[in-house]
């Protein structure tokens, strides 16, 4: 009895958890995997069903000093290995038999749909440099967009974390007249759809001369955001009074309580806010769209829109650009997640 419980604890439960996690990860990963695979596919493999999960490319050979594609096609009732030596506007292909035999070197013409390409497994890495080439040259292959986005993200994070934590501290751990009424007002500011206050806000920023700069995008972060204030307030409220009282007895001022006691205790929340603010700034589309116009002041999220065109567009390039845009975020997330895992255990709260 006892043994089976131990086995259960040691082996069965972890494997069940692993199974659940693996299944979940798979479900959550499939669309993303498709995104990455699409970014590495050839044009014509885009729309096949069942989908092509392994990127392929036509095998190329050098024929008389020229790179040509290999294929198979019927010639006099027999399937032959051929090289495509010319594409005609009519949709026909001029083929030359390359396999050894009496017909080697024979040239004939077939419609494209009757020629089967010989493919091998190979990702189309070229989509990535193509994606960068696609951007206007003055953006330095998109580096300008990255630079703008990084500035935006860093300043937004500093402002949001600083201001929101101060305001949340005030709304949760300090008593002052009018606090609860103003808290409802704070919540209420989130409830009015942004579309209707957009125009007056725009006019304020124009009056300040901030149009076509990045200022309207990060300065408001230093006023704290209602969402994050509310979030941090919830965290601050879960901290027991004893710690604060002890600090007061030790003669700590309010700033020390905020700075030395409260902030370290909500580290996981601050980490969460940091990453969410980062994400928000990284993917912010509407703000830059309204306030900036010069191509050199636009951030990344805007550039993505360039890959969608009126009739169709380039799915491979869109997905390649998306992958490149997500990569830094992924890396940041992967290496910072330990902060909100360890955050609490580092403090004096344990036990």
């Amino acid at each position: 009895m006892k043994l089976s419980a131990r086995v259960n604890r040691k082996y069965v439960r972890p494997s069940l958890i692993h199974a659940a996690l693996l299944l979940g990860s798979l479900i959550f990963l499939i669309p993303f995997a498709w995104l990455v695979v699409t970014s590495l596919k050839e044009d014509e493999d885009m729309s096949r069903f069942p989908p092509v999960w392994v990127p392929r490319q036509q095998t190329m050979i050098t024929l008389r000093g020229r790179e040509v594609g290999l294929a198979t096609a019927l010639y006099r009732g027999q399937r032959r290995r051929v090289a495509v030596i010319e594409e005609r506007e009519t949709g026909e292909q001029v083929l030359e038999i390359v396999e050894a035999g009496p017909d080697k070197g024979r040239v004939f013409t077939l419609p494209r749909s009757e020629v089967t390409k010989i493919r091998h497994i190979a990702p189309v890495w070229k989509n990535y440099p193509d994606t960068l080439k696609f951007l206007p040259p003055e953006t330095n292959s998109g580096l300008v967009f990255v630079f703008n986005t990084v500035i935006l993200a860093v300043l937004s994070i500093i402002g949001t974390v600083l201001a929101s934590s101060m305001v949340a501290f005030s709304f949760s751990r300090l008593r002052w007249p009018g606090r609860d009424g103003l808290f409802v007002v704070l919540l209420a500011t989130m409830m009015l759809p942004g579309a209707v206050t957009m125009m007056p806000v725009f006019l304020i920023f124009r009056w300040l001369g901030w149009i076509d700069t990045l200022l309207p995008l990060w300065v408001p972060a230093f006023f704290g955001s209602a969402f994050n204030v509310f979030l941090l307030r919830q965290f601050f409220l879960t901290i027991p009074n004893d710690l604060e009282d002890a600090a007061k007895i030790d003669g700590c001022g309010y700033f020390s309580i905020y700075h030395r006691i409260m902030l370290p205790l909500v580290k996981p929340a601050l980490a969460a806010i940091t990453i969410m603010t980062f994400m928000g700034a990284w993917n912010n589309f509407m703000g830059p769209l309204i306030y900036t116009s010069s191509p050199l002041k636009l951030p990344l999220a805007y550039a993505l829109q360039l890959f969608q065109t009126a009739h169709g567009g380039e799915p491979a390039l869109l997905m390649a650009a998306s992958t490149m845009m997500m990569l830094p975020v992924l890396i940041v997330f992967f290496f910072t997640q330990r902060y909100f895992i360890q955050g609490v255990t580092l403090t004096g709260l344990k036990g």
Binding site: P14, I17, A20, L21, G24, S25, F28, I30, F32, W34, M46, P51, G91, A163, M166, V167, F169, S170, S172, R173, L174, W176, P177, R179, L182, L187, T189, M191, P193, A195, T197, M199, P200, F202, R206, I211, F223, A226, F227, V229, Q234, L237, I239, Y254, F255, P268, A269, N283, L289, I290, L306, T309, H311, G312, G313, S322, M326, F334, Q337, K350
Partner: protein, 804 residues
């Protein structure tokens, strides 16, 4: 290197500083090598730097343009869909170009009306003034697959000419799979690009009276046209079944016409480029779009009637045009730019560059069409495709241009369009809506008529005296200040410690207080005022009292009810599911097993996929066609086999669109998981240990420790979820661009959410006052819900410490 660089430097310093011409709405991309060549030639010849900005898909975002014009920082040139020119011109957003046209009437590069197709030119004229110069154009005709015609025993040289023939041929070309689903459809009336507009014009219907004062959307000929469309859908087994099949039709490479899934379609000339690129060997033909039999008899035959004297076949053209916004900084240069872009020489440069690019990619070059006849002639003479089928098709499209119609130029153009889409949607879904074509069109006509009457009657309302809002704002400000002073004075009554704490409280809250006063309070008060005004943003507001609110609750109550029902559905089902999923994932990820950081990253991934890419992904995952959609393919292989359930149509079906949206939302639940994880990490381990000592099991620990300790987070998620759900917008907005039914709000308005309606009112119909009223109604609803939640919170939310 140095020697090479120097002359460049010198030449730049010696010339006057370059003018920078800002052009919005043009897009550089792989389809626009020719555009780049044209712009670069202009830059070189005029020593002007052209700065181009687009919003993707060649469209300008209306918000961007509107704020820029109101904020007096507009671009110099705007490249805009001609169909919206009337809307913007009527609000004085664009400058009339008549003086510029007259000034260089005699110069060799003058823009002359007679060089343009009549339909294109007339579409850019509003109340007798020219507001834009047409650039590109398109028109529509019937594409048909000759191979499939032969297979079905039809004559490939005799495409259908009348509606009856079209329906007959369609029936013969339609093929089913053994399970009853479509393998191929002969013809889908609204697949491609025809809409009710084309059928209606073919049948002699008009949408507006010539004076533009009355909307005649429900005229008997348009009703007849819609009845025809509905009958074709019904013959195929209903619009939902067709839509499920059709929701797989996306981009050019997926074009079902190329893959033989659709045998005929009415579509624009741009489709030729897609065929040339992806299936140049397709055996297809192009013919004028079939018309009612009566029309042919009265035009080509001897019969006399209302069609006598008209062309037998007609088409519909649209396209883009260049306009100069009000307040543009470089009007002269802008005009030079427009003249250049519309000239035959620029057309040839474009064709040459584009052809070179296409050939380098192994794609044939098939020129697009210009609104300028001279450009078309010059380009066709040199660059027409050599392959007969492409050449003949392009020729047919060009020859049809003189017989083309265009959407009426009116300030309610956008509304008319949207209502006509809605009427089509409601009439084809008659099983759900129980509406006849006549009813659906009459409802649409009434909506448009109301807008017309309001604008023609707006003079009756007084202009808002600017002193009134300023006065009220001052009074409000004084009252606020007074209240604040009174509150602060109250501090004195407190003890020393409390007083210090109060001051500290204000100090710590200062960032938000300052931000609120500076950036939030003013705009909110402004929006209160606007909700009592008729305000189109570009004209001064007029005071209309409670009119906006009255309209919202009376004649427009359908939109309010539908949109509120939709968000209620999304909230009541979506929020608990979201909370449960987020918490479940977080608990799994909080377990102590190896490889956790990899798992965490996997679950977090979906929430960082950029919105644009995620829309494309989901259109693929939730595709209604089991032969295309990933989820439906899995469904068909499992649930259909086990229980005989048919896969749902998701965004293509009225009752499945919202569940689709919820599922899509759950995929992003990993983003919320961070918060849950942070909360879980905050639960002291000793509580679990104590519970275990008491003999608590897994469920009991979850129920008695985890849930109470997490209740502040549940509460937070509930409030934020409610606010977020009622303001749902982004995803619906993006989805609407990805084939969520015919209308932008899902089939039968199933995805019409309040903020979507608000956005459309404000930025598509220019009804900012009405949108503000809607925002306040929404605000009150959210506020009430939040207050109720705050009120019941103490009963179930457990805080470690709270100072009352």
């Amino acid at each position: 290197m140095v020697a090479l660089a120097l002359p460049g430097c010198r030449s730049q310093t010696s010339t006057t500083p370059q003018t920078e011409l800002v052009v919005w709405g043009l897009q550089y991309g792989e389809e626009s090598e020719g555009l780049r060549a044209r712009v670069e030639t202009f830059e070189r010849r005029n020593n002007i730097k052209v700065s181009v900005l687009s919003m993707g898909a060649g469209q300008m975002n209306p918000q961007k343009l509107m704020t820029a014009i109101v904020g007096r920082v507009p671009p110099d040139v705007i490249h805009q869909d001609r169909f919206t020119i009337g809307d913007w011109a009527s609000r004085d957003a664009f400058e009339p170009l008549d003086d510029l046209l007259a000034a260089d009437a005699d110069s060799p590069d003058a823009i002359k009306r007679e060089n343009f197709y009549e339909a294109c030119w007339a579409e850019a004229v509003y109340e007798g003034k020219v507001y834009a110069i047409p650039s590109s154009t398109d028109d529509r005709a019937l594409y048909y697959n000759r191979t499939l015609f032969r297979e079905a025993g039809l004559d490939p040289d005799r495409p259908p000419r009348t509606w009856d023939e079209l329906l007959d041929d369609s029936k013969r070309l339609t093929a089913l799979n053994p399970d009853g689903s479509f393998r191929r459809i002969g013809f889908i009336p609204n697949y491609g690009n025809s809409w009710l507009y084309l059928y209606s014009w073919q049948n002699g219907g008009e949408f507006m009276t010539p004076d533009g004062r009355r909307c005649t959307l429900d005229n008997p000929y348009s009703v007849g046209a819609l009845e025809f469309m509905v009958s074709v859908y019904d013959a195929l087994g209903g619009v939902t079944k067709v839509d499920a099949f059709a929701s797989g039709f996306q981009a050019q490479e997926l074009d079902p016409f190329l893959t033989g899934k659709v045998a005929m379609k009415i579509d624009g000339n741009w489709v030729l480029q897609g065929i040339g690129r992806y299936r140049p060997d397709l055996d297809f033909g192009v013919a004028p779009a079939p018309v009612p039999k009566e029309r042919l008899e009265q035009t080509l035959g001897r019969a006399k009637g209302r069609f006598t004297g008209q062309p037998p076949y007609i088409t519909w053209s649209g396209g883009f045009s260049y306009a100069i916004p009000r307040g543009a900084a470089h009007r002269r240069e802008a005009w030079e730019f427009i003249k250049w872009m519309c000239s035959p020489e620029a057309g040839l440069i474009e064709a040459e560059a584009q052809k070179r690019y296409n050939l380098s990619k192994g794609r044939p070059f098939i020129p697009g069409m210009s609104a300028n006849i001279r450009v078309n002639e010059a380009v066709f003479a040199q660059y027409a495709p050599r392959v007969p089928k492409f050449r003949d098709s392009l020729k047919l499209f060009m020859d049809m241009m003189p017989a083309s119609r265009f959407r009426p130029v009116t300030f309610v153009g956008q509304r008319l369009w949207d209502e006509h889409v809605r009427a089509f949607d409601q009439a084809t879904h008659h099983r759900e809506t129980r509406k006849s074509p006549k009813q659906a069109l009459a409802e649409g006509a009434a909506v448009v008529q109301k807008e017309l009457d309001k604008v023609y009657g707006r003079e009756a309302f007084p202009l808002l005296n600017p002193r009134v809002p300023i006065g009220i704002a001052v009074v409000c400000g004084a009252a606020l200040l007074g209240a604040a002073v009174w509150r602060v004075r109250g501090i004195r009554a407190l003890g020393r410690v409390s007083r210090q704490e109060a001051w500290a409280g204000y100090l710590f809250a200062a960032p938000w207080l300052v931000g609120f006063v500076a950036l939030t309070a003013g705009p909110i008060i402004t929006s209160v005022f606007l909700s009592f005004c008729d305000y189109d943003v570009l004209h001064p507001p007029r005071f209309v009292g409670m009119h906006n609110y009255a309209e919202l609750f009376s004649s427009d109550s359908y939109y309010l009810r539908t949109s509120l029902y939709n968000v209620a559905y999304l909230a009541v089902i979506g929020i608990p599911l979201g909370i449960a999923t987020g918490l479940a994932i977080a608990m799994l990820l909080n377990a102590k097993v190896g490889g956790m950081s990899v798992y965490r990253t996997c679950f977090y991934l979906p929430s960082i996929v950029p919105v644009v890419a995620s829309a494309v992904l989901w259109a693929w995952v939730l595709n209604g066609d089991p032969n295309r959609g990933l989820l439906n393919a899995a469904w068909k292989a499992t649930l259909s086999v086990w229980f005989g359930w048919d896969p749902p149509g998701w965004f293509g079906a009225a009752e499945w669109a919202k569940p689709g949206l919820i599922i899509q939302g759950l995929w992003g639940a990993g983003g919320g998981m961070i918060l849950w994880l942070a909360g879980l990490q905050g639960i002291p381990q000793h509580l679990y240990e104590a519970a275990e000592l008491d003999g608590a099991g897994v469920w009991s620990k979850f129920r008695n420790v985890t849930i109470p300790m997490l209740s502040p987070y549940v509460f937070f998620n509930l409030i934020m979820g409610t606010i977020g759900a009622l303001q749902e917008f982004d995803r619906v907005y993006v989805l609407s661009g990805q084939g969520a039914g015919a209308s932008s709000v899902g089939p039968v308005d199933s995805l019409l959410v309040p903020v979507m309606y608000l956005f459309n009112s404000a930025f598509k119909y220019f009804k900012m006052g009405y949108a503000s009223a809607l925002a306040w109604v929404l605000f009150i609803i959210i506020l009430l819900l939040t207050l109720v939640q705050l009120k019941i919170a103490p009963r179930w939310v457990h805080y470690e410490a709270e100072k009352k």
